[in-house]
Amino acid sequence: MNPAQAAAAPDYQWLTFTVFAVIIAITMWVTYLAAKRVRSAADFYTAGGGISGFQNGWAIAGDYLSAASFLGIAGLISLYGYDGFMYSVGFLAAYITVLLLIAEPCRNIGRYTLADILAYRNDPRRTRVFGALSTITVSTFYLTAQMVGGGVLVKTLIGINYETSVICVGILMLAYVIFGGMVATTWVQIIKAVLLVCASIVMVALVWSPYGFSLPAFLKVVVGDPNVQARVATLLGDPAKNMTAAELGQRFLEPGLYFKAPIDQISLGMGLVFGTAGLPHILMRFFTVRTAQQARGSVVWAMAIIGGFYVLTLFLGFGAAHSVGPAAIAAVDAGGNMAAPLLAQYLGGGPASFWGNLMLAFVSAVAFATIVAVVAGLVLASASAMAHDLYVGVVRAGRETTPRAQVTAARVATLIVGAMSIGIGIAAKGQNVAVLVGLAFAVAASANFPCVLLTLYWKRCNTTGIVAGMLIGTITAVGLTLVSPNVTYPLAVKAAAHKVLDAEPAKRSAATAALASEDAAVAAKAKKDLAGLDKAVAKATADIAKWGEERTSFVGLEQPLFSLKNPGIISIPLGFLAVLLGSLLTRDPRAEATWNEVYARQNTGIQVTKAAAH
């Protein structure tokens, strides 16, 4: 099945292009206006500190609600029910940590980057190098996931090929960032967040209104849907045989269809809740406002917007499951990413109607804007680490760098990071990149979060502790992921394939026998089973051929050394431990001497770098 044809009807391709063009034109106009205001490094990195708390709240929402959360969570809910919604909760709860512990002190201590916060008390050279490397690592993981996801999405939505899609996303994002810096990035994020929230509200209104906006009435229809019940039966396998249709439907609203290992789920929760507070592109947003009060206000606004949006995902996901059907959603994209766009098409009147295709085009364009806006924020964070921390802070340390040279350095760094992201996006074609978002959160939670938190709140924290925390946190998070079940293990793949092949003859004879049945329904089911069996056999044969004599995963393991998919539960405590031990085992007079200044400043906001008034 060609996904491009599945999403947008060929007759309405022009409509998709028109809506895309309108949204791109608006963001380009904003970039043009913003470009005139970018004169200094502060303008480029932080929009001169001239963003209000309310605006920044929308921009944080725009930065955070990535395609993974908009399309991904709606998709997970539509395919796995309740478990998908648990992601939504984690993504919002994460902001409590940001609000209470991180946002305001960061505003009062930092200037442009995460490493600024660390370098304030510690040896600036070493902490800048490690802070910058960690920023680039986290952002690159996240960026790769967005680029690959974006490429696939644009390809599915408008039918252009993958490489072209990735290049389009890359060039558009580079245009925003290079010319408009943080000013343009902020406004693109705000526009995108507003469009996303509006589109979601319209869709939820359409999905929910037939049930008089009653939650039980709406969900009753969802659990009563035969497609949903069939999906649950497929997910549960054998145990489903003893369940009634009503029980199967109700099971969709209960936990356990997606998350199988409880500890893994808790580990994921830790990664989400502590990782957000260590994401460089989110921390960077707090430098765009002038005061701690505005930083606080922006998180409160962001929580209202992000939380409101995630409540809507419940209706988008369940609505898509009922209206479009889990099987139809999975047929277009196995991960469920097309659930929201397909729901939009259905709500407008279906694949053959003008309004259906207009809704599809609009939601697709919003999804596209989402990817570009998130990628822009990530590239800006990486470029600032490269230009401000590594070039200005380390390479040219002790020498004066003119404002003009700083902006040039920032633009050159943006170009480098942007070109890299396009290259990585194309190189990673066809890879399963979902794990990379989890990895970005895991590294942020295990390395950045302990370092930032302890540098802000612990007097004895010092350079050795920061370096140790950054190294141990990153290495354990990445290392555990490499030896986890996330990686492909040829032996397991081949064993599963052989199992399919071994079971085939028995299944085939049973189905062939049923094919001759008098009962039309039984015969039809047998025919479907046979087709499914053929597909499974073809895949198993292909898997065996593909892996050949291969016995080990690409890091040389026959089976996972670490049984969890999410490393957080081990790597976060280890990151904290490394900062603690590193700090306690060494003395750093400067770090202790500056403690009073850091602590007094973060609580009073005295002498925050003067923000340019626009």
């Binding site: 409590i96 659990v223 005295i606």
Partner: protein, 106 residues
């Protein structure tokens, strides 16, 4: 931008008003943080280990699991609102007093 030496940071730390700000802020923030974290992790823990409780239907087909997940949103918003109000009415006032005395605030 004034040079950092212009502000006597040690004096601020010694100031009884700062000491009291520090104590109240620390108690409030870490207390609220602990409560929020515990409440959040009740969801994955409940979903994993208390499935029988989570499956109970309380409002038509709406079960405890769904209501508990929705309550997480409510709690997050209440925490945000409560903290923002407390900070602007209480912490900000003292911080501004200290800032006004020890260093010109921009």
């Amino acid at each position: 931008m004034a040079t950092p030496e212009a502000v006597d940071w040690d004096a601020i730390i010694r100031d009884p008003r700062f000491q009291s700000l520090h104590r109240r802020k620390a108690r409030f923030l870490w207390g609220l943080m602990a409560v929020s974290v515990v409440f959040y992790f009740l969801l994955p823990i409940g979903a994993a280990y208390f499935q029988d409780l989570f499956k109970i239907q309380v409002w038509g087909v709406v079960n405890v699991a769904l209501l508990f997940a929705l309550s997480e949103f409510l709690v997050a918003w209440v925490v945000a609102f409560w903290y923002a109000r407390k900070a602007s009415r209480d912490f900000d006032v003292i911080a501004a007093e200290i800032a006004a005395q020890y260093g010109a605030r921009r």
